[in-house]
């Protein structure tokens, strides 16, 4: 009974993550890749993502603090960050990256900073939610197949 409830919770949470636009199709792809050979594949990938993204965010921070702002460098780093975010399907984060890069191209320092702050917020939110999600998922036990949210 408990397991069933747990699983329902996991499913519900996943559904909400999708509904609210935090995650996209890519996340499902990752779940589909999970198999006996790699039973924790999704978590592994997400962990790799956290590592990469933390480093990139800190890079961005440093670059933004400099004066004058090196927009090309910002663009490059953000491009990497966007690519990384696309790997787990971090939809909102990705959208913010795109916005940031537009500001970069427009050489709009203020716009960049604002966008960066927003992106960091989205990133933090997603990270928290995913942690909760994985925690629930672990409790619920392995699910046979990845199921798609409606």
């Amino acid at each position: 009974m408990d397991k069933i409830n747990s699983r329902r919770q996991v499913a519900a949470m996943k559904q909400s993550l999708f509904d609210q636009g935090y995650l996209d199709e890519q996340f499902i792809q990752l779940e589909e890749l999970q198999d006996d050979a790699n039973p924790n594949f999704v978590e592994e990938i997400v962990t790799l993502y956290y590592r990469d993204s933390s480093r990139l965010i800190s890079n961005l921070d440093h670059t933004l603090e400099r004066n004058p702002v090196d927009f090309n460098k910002l663009d490059t780093i953000m491009h990497q960050f966007k690519g990384s975010s696309s790997s787990i399907g971090a939809k909102k984060v990705k959208a913010e990256c795109t916005l940031f890069m537009e500001y970069c191209r427009a050489r709009n320092g203020e716009g960049c900073r604002r966008s960066f702050q927003q992106m960091k917020k989205e990133y933090a939110t997603l990270r928290k939610k995913l942690e909760t999600y994985f925690h629930l998922a672990r409790q619920a036990g392995p699910v046979e197949t990845a199921f798609r949210p409606k």
Partner: protein, 583 residues
């Protein structure tokens, strides 16, 4: 790739399982995801997070990969640059990927030669079909090869010293081409399972003989390399049967060859020191090069240009044999040969002697190889891991057998046959008697190909003199095979025969003796001869880059019905073929 894997590799599963993919991406998350996705597609994956590392891997074992997937933005090297390098050096299909899908970027990718551009996030279904790029490339190479070969009879003219056959051959070749093309089209319609069947193996190929190539180069120089264009060249060359397309693809190869030369000169000043001049007098140069190369033995990986590109194809199982073949094949031209080389039964099989042999050619040939490489790769892939083996085995027994194995290749028309025979006989001579088990497998396959060689072969061979005599039995064996011989063979022969003449004869004899004795080509004197022999062929290669081209034809996918499993092994085959054609 090790030959031993052959039987246990996933390739034996349904095609395209076992496709060897090299993934390059600085994003570790994506690298992991792609690796998993590709593994799910049953592909063999190698990952790299640095472009420089990827290039190193590729250079080490050109034949170890079938396709490269690379991200556009990387810290150590621009993805486009990597793309160019891989295309030039190894002639592997490269797929670019990026989170940025802007048209200008995609355009840049296409311009730099990417065969596809994927947008991140990448779906697994997109990766599932990447094998098509490998297949397509091979097909084009085979076609290119074919269009280049098949005809050339200038070489044959020289060879035959005015024998009647040359005229006939020419006619034949022309007809052959057309009929082959028709046949090919018809064939292509029916096949849908094995790759081998799909490949345009039956096309007649234009053989860029020494003469023809010289005309070509003369025309190019006259026009001015910068202003050159296929139409202009064609007009200047004034060769009636040559088409604009033939010239266009030859020009492309020539260009690549030159740029490769450029690179090689920069890179290999120490080893080769050979200037790839157009004149046959390169012998000296090549020879020295060969010697140098010899020293490098066992160094397959060393020269990115040489082995990986195409000459590797020669890597037939026979150790020494492989070496020779490779060298001759002039693998350096990354492209096509590369494919074949990968197929080649493990480099490990090769003996040092082989390597040395290969090396010389590779560098020399690299430029030349461009041409050949293109062609070779295609064929090898499909087949055939066995292919190379076959001939090798044959060699042990007698030169004749070698030819049998070569017979696998479909023969086209008599002209082709002749050519093939010659090359085959030569190959047999050169090939190392020490054939490994792998070769055995190939052996079985080669038989059918040589049918066509017989009669035609005899004539040209005789013109060669004693060398010819060495082959009589071989020719006969060739006769047994059926007619669908590969045009490629013929072309090689013509090229080769031209060059070798008497020289070949003595070399051949020498080799033959050695082979029969089971001596490895590696033996010092043999090596020298071989080198010299190769040199001969190499000269041609260098001059014309044609030999390589010819060789590539061998790889006709048609050759092996078992393409699926051999798909990735074709390199082996090609190398074998090439080596055969060393002569």
């Amino acid at each position: 790739m090790d030959n031993g894997c052959f039987s246990s590799s996933p390739r034996h599963d349904a095609f395209p399982a076992g496709l060897r993919v090299l993934v390059v991406d600085d994003d570790l998350t994506w690298l992991r995801i792609l690796e998993k996705m590709l593994k799910k597609c049953l592909y063999e994956v190698t990952t790299c997070c640095l472009a420089t590392e990827a290039l190193k891997k590729l250079r080490e074992r050109k034949e170890a990969y079938d396709i490269v997937i690379s991200d556009v933005n990387m810290p150590d090297m621009d993805g486009f640059k990597l793309l160019e390098q891989v295309g030039l050096e190894m002639d592997l299909p490269v797929i670019m990927m990026s989170v940025d899908g802007e048209t200008s970027r995609v355009m840049k990718g296409v311009q730099h030669g990417a065969c596809d551009y994927l947008l991140k996030p990448i779906r697994m279904k997109e990766l599932r079909n990447i094998w098509q790029h490998v297949f397509r490339k091979r097909m084009h190479e085979a076609r290119d090869f074919e269009s280049h070969e098949g005809f050339d009879f200038e070489g044959i003219h020289l060879m035959r010293n005015g024998s009647d056959h040359s005229d006939d051959g020419n006619l034949f070749a022309v007809e052959e081409t057309t009929s082959i093309k028709k046949r090919k089209d018809a064939d292509n319609k029916h096949d849908d399972k094995e790759f081998g069947d799909h490949f345009p193996t039956k096309k007649a190929r234009v053989v860029w003989s020494v003469d023809l190539h010289q005309k070509f180069v003369k025309a190019v120089n006259q026009i001015g390399f910068d202003k050159v264009g296929p139409k202009k060249i064609l007009d200047l060359m004034n060769v009636p049967w040559l088409t604009r397309e033939n010239v266009a693809s030859h020009l492309q190869k020539y260009r690549l060859y030159l740029s490769r030369l450029q690179k090689e000169n920069d890179q290999k000043s120490s080893s080769s020191g050979i200037k790839h001049s157009d004149s046959p007098s390169k012998d000296l140069g090549s020879f020295s090069f060969l010697n140098t190369a010899n020293k490098q033995q066992n160094d397959i990986a060393t020269d990115s240009f040489s082995y990986s590109d195409g000459t590797l194809l020669i890597q037939m199982d026979a150790t020494s044999y492989e070496g020779d073949l490779k060298g001759i094949v002039s693998e350096p031209t990354t492209e096509k040969i590369r494919a074949s080389t990968s197929e080649i039964p493990d480099p490990k099989v090769q003996k040092s002697s082989q390597k040395s042999l290969n090396k010389p050619f590779t560098s020399v040939e690299s430029s030349e190889a461009n041409h050949a490489v293109f062609d070779c790769t295609i064929p090898t892939e499909y087949s055939w891991s066995e292919f190379p083996k076959g001939p090798l085995k044959e060699e042990q027994k007698t030169p004749v057998q070698l030819e049998d194995s070569l017979c696998q290749l479909p023969l086209h028309g008599t002209q082709h046959h002749i050519q093939i025979d010659q090359s085959q006989s030569i190959a047999s001579i050169n090939s190392n008697p020490s054939i490994t088990e792998e070769e055995v497998a190939a052996k079985l396959e080669t038989k059918p190909l040589y049918a066509g060689y017989e009669s035609d072969y005899v004539n040209p061979v005789s013109s060669i003199g004693s060398a010819v005599e060495a082959f009589p039995s071989q020719s006969k064996s060739l006769m047994v095979s059926d007619q669908s011989s590969e045009p490629t063979f013929t072309s090689n022969l013509s090229l080769k025969t031209q060059g070798f003449n008497l020289d070949c004869i003595s070399d051949l004899d020498f080799y033959q003796r050695n082979l029969l004795l089971g001596g490895e080509v590696a033996s010092a004197p043999l090596d020298e001869d071989l080198n010299f022999f190769l040199l001969q062929s190499e000269c041609y290669n260098m001059n014309f880059g044609l030999q390589n081209i010819d060789m590539s034809e061998y790889y006709d996918p048609r050759l092996t019905a078992e393409v699926p499993s051999h798909f990735y092994d074709s390199a082996d085959y090609s190398s074998v073929d090439q080596s055969l054609f060393i002569a």
